[in-house]
Amino acid sequence: MDLSAINPILLIAAMIAASTPILLAAIGELVVERAGVLNLGVEGMMITGAVCGFIITVNTGSPTVGFIAAAVGGAVLSLLFAFLTQVALANQVASGLALTLFGLGLSALMGQSYVGIKPPRTEATPLGPLADIPVIGPIVFGHDMIVYLGLAIVAATWATLKFTRVGLVLRAVGENHDAAHALGYKVKRIRTAAIFFGGACAGLGGAYISLIRVPQWTEGMTAGVGWIALALVVFASWKPWRVLLGAYLFGGITQLQLNLQGAGVAIPVEYLAMSPYIVTIIVLVILSSDKSRAPGSLGRTFHASG
């Protein structure tokens, strides 16, 4: 074992990068759940985003176009979920599972001729001299665009939910859809928009894994990150800033166990690889005593009886 091989500054920088996919998926799901919809298809939308982003980046050579394609891919898939739950009024748990199963199959089908290819590198954002500041430079200013985009989305979501009319309407729909309907808000339209946003965020998060974290395409490569993101929303009590905190915690553990694997700690690799999932369970247990923060209409089907 050689712990001195781990450079703490690079470790923290890597932790921030590792938490970005979880952060993106979780902030999207947070908006969906604040609108009163439980979409268990995050994993399916992430993997679809991962494969869309990968294919487009390889073919166009531009990661930016790839990330846009990933967001579109995730969002389009989420519309299937929106159709099932908002138009066909299907059970949200079952529809979400269907979305995940379908997404995993679809991505495997789309990506089969892309296995083993290396995508073009996504460059770090040129922040010039800022990145050269010792210690703080690499940790805060040495990242790619998507890391900052993730942070910006969290801030924007927080501000929108807290200060704007749109946010108020969204929360009203999530807390009590009957009351919101009686006030004249288009419950289904608002929820569909929220689901769409959640899909786009999940797609971005997936593409971050396939284009930057790994960067390669393999079947089922999101490996449960989508589910961890779902757990994270509960962990965060449906609050944006706590999603950020939680994402850093989970991303940190994922990165730390990878570094420990690399440093040759005397724990078998498989048991280290289990740790993010076990920590998720433990955190869920600690925090699930307080359910009072959950949106009132979460998971319930809305049908306006005329």
Partner: protein, 360 residues
């Protein structure tokens, strides 16, 4: 304008018709998908649904129907109990893996002793392993109110890592020239889940699946506990006033579904698959979710749905080797089936009305 009007009672006709409609719709859209992949859609659909049953080599494929159908039915029967009560165990894949590890471990512990007690012991170990693995989310839900969906799913990933660790470590074949994977149980007569009647595919897992179907049918239609499950799913508050103990019901549903998934894993590892290896599991635990819904959470429906799903697996394999259809296409096909089922289910609970209604 199309409007939906809630039916006072779910339509009984539609409840049976929607799975059939969903299969037809999936065939049409699946055919379109196959055409998009450059295959003849009619030929592909026929290869998947006709070839295994009535084709030239059907004598070889028909037994596969039981081999692949049994684990699906076994797992889906357990899942359906929980789904009916609104208890969502979606980690059957993990319970299946742990059942297989425990079952195989119990057998291999006695290698090379031959005894008629070894196989029953393995069955017990497999059932217990799956049951305990599923009781983790059950216990956490009862004690701390933790969401069972997320915990049971997290445990799938933990079980997969455990499987890797076992096939590289504790259960690794000492005479396997360093390759990962356990000893082959098919070459250990006392532990082998052999065919009961040769060339029929009929092994002990099929028997267990049949028993599970009968058991769950009786439970749901004739027993107080089955009634409690149904009431809890349809009206949780009424169930509480009626004296149903929700904690006990959660533990029963999760424990029972884990037990059946564990059994499925054990019968698979001792029979058709033969050894614990890193990629021993093939996703039956997730496909069984589709089977449970397609069978309308009804034991007899699940048998039909399980056989249909088994058919798509076998037909998919044939289409892969004969037409070069990618394996993932079948996965998409199965996912589509669940989509259409959920979408068409609206017809069971709602009437579709055409024409302009009053302003809602």
């Amino acid at each position: 304008m199309i409007r939906l009007e809630k039916r006072p009672q779910p339509s009984a006709t539609m409840s049976w018709a929607t799975p059939l409609l969903a299969v037809v719709a999936t065939m049409i859209f699946g055919g379109a998908l196959f055409a998009a992949l450059g295959k003849d859609p009619i030929e592909a659909i026929l290869t998947i649904f006709w070839e295994p049953l009535f084709g030239e080599f059907s004598f070889f494929y028909r037994p596969q129907l039981l081999i692949k159908g049994a684990p699906l039915v076994l797992i889906a029967i357990g899942l359906a109990l929980g789904f009916k009560a609104g208890i969502w165990n979606i980690g059957a894949e993990g319970q299946y893996i742990v059942g297989a590890i425990c079952g195989a471990g119990a057998g291999l512990a006695f290698y090379p002793t031959e005894s008629i007690f070894i196989f029953p012991l393995m069955i017990l170990a497999g059932a217990l392993g799956g049951c305990l693995w599923a009781l983790i989310p059950g216990f956490l839900k009862v004690r701390f109110g933790t969401n069972e969906i997320l915990v049971s799913l997290m445990l799938v990933y933990v079980a997969e890592q455990l499987l890797a660790s076992m096939s590289l470590g504790l259960l690794k074949n000492p005479e396997g020239f360093g390759f990962p994977g356990s000893r082959n149980l098919q070459q250990y007569p006392s532990a082998h889940n052999a065919e009961i009647i040769t060339n029929t595919g009929m092994h002990w897992g099929v028997v267990a699946a049949l028993i599970a179907v009968i058991f769950s049918y009786v439970l749901l239609t004739r027993h107080r506990l089955g009634f409690a499950i149904r009431v809890t799913g349809e009206a949780p508050r009424a169930a509480k006033f009626g004296g149903v103990n929700p904690a006990r019901l959660i533990l029963f549903c999760l424990g029972m579904s884990g037990l059946l998934a564990g059994l499925a894993g054990m019968f698979e590892v001792a029979g058709p698959s033969g050894q614990i290896s890193i990629d021993f599991n093939v996703g039956y635990g997730f496909t069984a979710i589709i089977v449970a819904f397609l069978g309308r959470l009804n034991p007899l429906g699940i048998v039909a749905a399980g056989l249909l799903m088994a058919l798509t697996y076998i037909g998919g394999d044939i289409a892969q080797s004969q037409l070069g259809l990618p394996a993932a296409a079948i996965q998409v096909f199965q996912g589509m089936l669940l989509f259409f089922l959920l979408a068409l289910d609206v017809l069971t609970n709602y009437r579709v009305r055409f024409g302009t209604g009053e302003v809602a």
